[in-house]
């Protein structure tokens, strides 16, 4: 039964994906970004096997040991921190926290943002006005300050930092969903669907929403990278993940006093943040070029 209905849909999906990949792979940097991100994700998943040491074990005889290769004692490629923990292993385990934080922020923003955006776009009137004014309010405060205030209410911690960051990003998603919903809803295929007797929710979620997804995916990707940055920033300020969690920003904060005597303890975690964010942004740029119909074929 399903084969009859599903076959054309599947082949169309495959065709769309092929077309998408054609445009995406035109940009070499985007493919490099994607490959690097895939590497980071694998590193996060298999941290237990890749990391040479337990990130929490303190090697008392190797405090603040400089990066070393092939030494008999204290053989740590990225050196050790103030408590003698292996920096490399801490960074590898930190990948998990950063990626999960970024991913959860994007998922939260996408799900809540789409719902609010659709509500605003569908009902218009006072529902729209209320939602959009709340979003304007959130946007009128700089993101990091807003996140700080929210964490002050919720209490410091990685989970609360993620919630706070999600709230500060939410307006972008709501606005984007609302505006593309409004643009799409006046198009012929929506009218056709209405004429065919489709219900409210069918029109909102099944007819229109898929056509609004392209800009949302791009925004989601870009927010993924900024979420990693902001999680690290909150961690650095002491309002995000709390020590001894090896979150990248927290790693920089806890070793900050050593930055002149043991610069590797600060340099490597930051480099990890930079590279991860850079890879995602490279990929995001490629995604935008491949998905944005305005840029396409011009």
């Amino acid at each position: 039964m399903d084969s009859v209905a599903d076959t054309p849909r599947k082949s169309m999906l495959r065709q769309n994906l092929a077309e998408f990949w054609y445009y995406f792979s035109e940009s070499k940097s985007a493919v490099v970004g994607l490959a690097f991100l895939a590497g980071i994700i694998l590193m996060a998943i298999f941290a237990d096997f890749i990391a040479p040491h337990d990130p929490t074990i303190q090697y008392r005889e190797c405090l603040e040991h400089a990066p070393a290769w092939g030494e008999e004692k204290c053989n740590f490629i990225f050196g050790t921190d103030y408590a003698g923990r292996d920096m490399l292993s801490r960074i590898i385990y930190g990948t998990r926290l950063s990626l999960v934080a970024g991913g959860i922020v994007v998922l939260l923003c996408l799900s809540v943002g789409i719902v609010f955006g659709l509500l605003a776009g569908f009902f218009r009137g006072w529902v729209d006005t209320t939602i959009m004014r709340i979003m304007d309010t959130i946007m009128s405060v700089p993101g990091l300050l807003m996140a700080l205030v929210l964490v002050a209410i919720l209490g410091p911690g990685l989970l609360n930092a993620m919630i706070a960051i999600s709230i500060t990003y939410l307006p972008h998603f709501v606005r984007l969903t609302r505006s593309s919903y409004i643009t799409e809803s006046s198009k012929e295929y929506v009218i056709a669907s209405k004429v065919a007797g489709a219900g409210r929710f069918r029109i909102m979620f099944i007819t229109i929403l898929p056509n609004c997804m392209a800009p949302l995916i791009v925004q989601g990707t870009l927010s993924f990278s900024t979420a990693i940055l902001d999680t690290a920033a909150l961690g650095f300020l002491g309002m995000g993940a709390q020590p001894p969690a090896p979150e990248w920003g927290t790693l920089i904060a806890e070793n900050r006093d050593l930055m002149l005597s043991a610069p590797w303890t600060v340099t490597f975690p930051g480099l990890a943040i930079l590279l991860a964010v850079l890879a995602i942004n490279l990929m995001g740029d490629g995604l935008r070029d491949a998905l944005d119909p305005k840029m396409k074929r011009s």
């Binding site: 405060v141 300050l145 205030v149 002050a152 920033a233 002491g238 920003g249 930055m259 002149l260």
Partner: protein, 337 residues
């Protein structure tokens, strides 16, 4: 144009109420007893508790508390710091010039470098120059600035010993505060070397704070220019036999600036967020450091006041940018209705 201005101002009213409700709600949503949180005292006697409650007006209904709060705000009363017992507004205004000074220099750096390299990349589209500039600006855009600051401190301050790494001026100088802008005050003081020292202290913080806006402005200028360069009127300008400088620098840029101005305006929010990190790293005595300090020392009136003040500043800047946008866009400026 008049209608345009009026509409822009009207849009700010709900946001003002939104921000004040948020700031008002913030204190009441804090975990634990608000009275204790606001008074900054623990283990109070019941009498003391009631006394403070009365003093802060916490015994009144919530809506009345909010109206009182708005009333006070409109009269310039943003509450009193629990730590210093001084009015929030006074503290804010005292520290604000330091943040403006840093923010302005960072912004100047970002615009002065970002706009020209964005134009250059657009004109040289597809070449190695373009790819190089865009590559570097993407790195800048991806930069965790707190780490970037520490890295620069390690290199310039630690390894090479070229620049000071904290504060606004060397402790050898005791410059009298006149305007609050240290560069100006240092000049006014007439002390030899004071201005140079203040400038010297600004280098690293300016670079750190300016990095992300610089990257964003360069990228956005490029894409705005690319859009404009394919327009027919650019071809017309070239058909007139005008020099490339005039074609790109006047005909194309004038149109691209309409977009770029908006982008520059939006960077004010980025700068405020960046100031929190930058000022913390460089012990820069401005608003950013003050907010962080207030959060950590649970000086919630200060956080609340800072939140409202910063939001109001950003709202005003956005209004100015909007008006500027209307002024440089003839389609808005010269439309009567």
């Amino acid at each position: 144009m008049f209608y345009f201005v009026l509409k822009r101002i009207a849009l700010l009213v709900p946001i003002f109420f939104g921000v004040t409700i948020m700031a008002f709600g913030f204190i009441r949503m804090l975990p634990g007893d608000p009275v204790a949180a606001l008074a900054g005292e623990r283990d109070m006697t019941p009498e003391r508790h009631a006394e403070i409650m009365l003093k802060l007006g916490l015994d009144k209904p919530v809506w009345q508390q909010y109206l009182d709060y708005i009333w006070n705000l409109l009269h310039g009363d943003f509450g009193t710091s629990v730590l210093t017992n001084r009015p929030i507004l006074d503290e804010f205004l005292e520290l604000f010039p330091a943040t403006i000074e840093l923010g302005l220099t960072a912004m100047i750096l970002a615009v002065v470098i970002g706009v020209p390299i964005g134009i250059f990349a657009a004109v040289k589209r597809g070449t190695l120059y373009d790819q190089g500039i865009m590559g570097i600006s993407l790195v800048g855009y991806s930069m965790p600035i707190f780490w970037w600051g520490l890295l620069l401190i390690i290199l310039f301050g630690g390894v090479w010993g070229l620049t000071p790494i904290s504060g606004r001026i060397s402790f050898l100088f005791d410059v009298e505060t006149v305007t609050g802008f240290l560069l100006i005050d240092a000049l006014l003081s007439g002390e030899e070397g004071a201005f140079a020292s203040a400038m010297h202290h600004m280098i690293l913080p300016t670079i750190v704070l300016g990095t992300i806006p610089l990257a964003i402005i360069a990228r956005q200028t490029r894409s705005a220019m690319l859009e404009v360069l394919s327009e027919d009127y650019v071809r017309t300008a070239r058909a007139k036999g005008l020099s490339p400088l005039r074609v790109y620098g006047l005909h194309a840029l004038r149109n691209a600036m309409i977009t770029v101005i908006t982008v520059i305006g939006l960077q004010v929010g980025t700068l405020m967020a960046g100031a929190i990190l930058t000022e913390t790293i460089f012990s820069w005595p401005g608003i950013g450091k003050w907010i962080i300090f207030s959060v950590f020392s649970r000086d919630y009136y200060a956080v609340q006041g800072g939140l409202v003040l910063i939001a109001m500043i950003i709202m005003s800047v956005n209004l100015v940018v909007d008006l500027l946008y209307g002024m440089i866009n003839p389609r808005i400026l010269h439309t009567s209705s």
